[in-house]
């Protein structure tokens, strides 16, 4: 099966937004999606975009059960380490479930039923292709590392990334993510310290 990984275009934002919502459902947090395809388009296609995105596209004959030909995306941006310099950060990597586990190298697909996943082909499929492309972009831009987060219960993703050589820095080095959000951010902006 052919699968093209290419930069997202402005008109792809509707499809990417669809898949963002699917991923939120999978992560059991669907109510937390607050942006829409218009915001995605504004933020990604401004003069200085806030993110970059790749999409995975299949030919029409391999479209999904619901008729989609854009079947995955990888959203990333550049970050900076004061110790090592430029980094690339993989924010989201998502393949529609019916397109996972497909071995693109061996082209193992049942042509009579597009989109049937074959088991045991982790590491050869669309997700890997997207991730490789992001890595390539990182190398082209002289990035030293790629970073990303995974939820601790998502063992399938953890296993996949660790099999590719990724290190869990939270477990290994104790790094924790913190945030100031909503009221806490506003209070900070007003110079109010303490809760």
């Amino acid at each position: 099966m052919e699968c093209v990984v290419r930069p997202c275009r402005a008109e792809d934002c509707v499809e990417v937004m669809r898949m963002i919502r699917e991923l939120a459902e999978f992560e059991k947090l669907p109510d937390q999606v607050q942006i829409n395809d218009q915001v995605l388009r504004e933020d990604g296609f401004a003069n200085d975009p806030f993110y970059r995105c790749l999409v995975a596209e299949v030919p029409p004959e391999y479209r999904s059960r619901d008729g989609h030909t854009i079947v995955g995306y990888g959203l990333y941006f550049f970050t900076y380490s004061t110790w090592k310099g430029r980094n690339i950060y993989m924010e989201d990597l998502y393949i529609m479930p019916e397109f996972r586990g497909i071995d693109l190298e061996e082209n193992r697909m049942n042509l009579g039923s597009p989109g049937i996943c074959t088991p045991n082909y982790a590491g050869k499929g669309i997700g890997k292709k997207l991730m490789s492309k992001i890595a390539e972009i990182g190398v082209e831009n002289r990035c030293i590392e790629m970073k990303f987060v995974v939820l601790d219960w998502n063992q399938a993703a953890i296993d996949f990334y660790q099999s590719q050589g990724a290190v869990d820095l939270t477990a290994a080095e104790g790094w924790h993510f913190f945030h100031f959000k909503g009221d806490a951010l506003v209070r900070l902006a007003q110079g109010q310290t303490g809760l």
């Binding site: 963002i20 991923l23 942006i35 806030f50 941006f77 004061t82 601790d152 924790h176 900070l188 310290t193």
Partner: protein
């Protein structure tokens, strides 16, 4: 009248920023970990597409009117959450020890929050190592939430060797 000033960094601040980066690395017991140079900071922060932004804290130099010392910095950049949009990410935040307790840190956080809100960011994110209790208390006292503990987020990294390997795979 406050005895310090916070302002956006300019290209000529890069050598002082690097000095402070190295001091912070020493505090984190990693003095040899800093590989970037002043040239990297200049190119990456003040080129066509900056990879970072920086605020500088400075105090007047004693006995030298019109002159000042750089005593702190906050390096940040903008990131993106596909659920909530733009975020401000605080990469490094450091005030030299003799200048703590003057309100420089609080003023820096205030300025950063104002920048975040003005840019329409939903939140400010940052990392802290879990053994760094003073820093964690500092941030939690001001309303920060530990997402790794609360929601289970773990930070992963592919190093350069893996990055090159993945980039060359078809």
């Amino acid at each position: 009248m406050s005895c310090f000033r916070i302002r956006p960094a300019e290209p000529q601040d890069c050598s002082e920023i690097l000095r402070l980066i190295k001091e912070l690395a020493s505090y984190e017991n990693m003095p040899n970990a800093v590989k970037i140079t002043e040239k990297d900071l200049l190119e990456d922060g003040f080129g066509e597409h900056p990879f970072y932004h920086c605020l500088i804290a400075e105090v007047p130099k004693e006995g030298q009117a019109g002159s000042s010392c750089t005593v702190g910095y906050a390096m940040y950049y903008f990131t993106y959450d596909p659920w909530i949009g733009k975020l401000l990410y605080l990469e490094d935040f450091y005030v030299m020890e003799p200048y703590r307790g003057l309100g420089i840190g609080s003023e820096m956080l205030k300025r950063l929050s104002q920048i975040a809100i003005k840019t329409n960011c939903s939140c400010m994110h940052f990392l802290v190592v879990i053994w760094n209790k003073p820093s964690i208390e500092y941030y939690v006292r001001r309303g920060a939430l530990d997402l790794s503990t609360e929601e289970g987020w773990h930070l992963f990294r592919f190093d350069k060797e893996n990055l090159l390997r993945m980039a060359s795979e078809e």
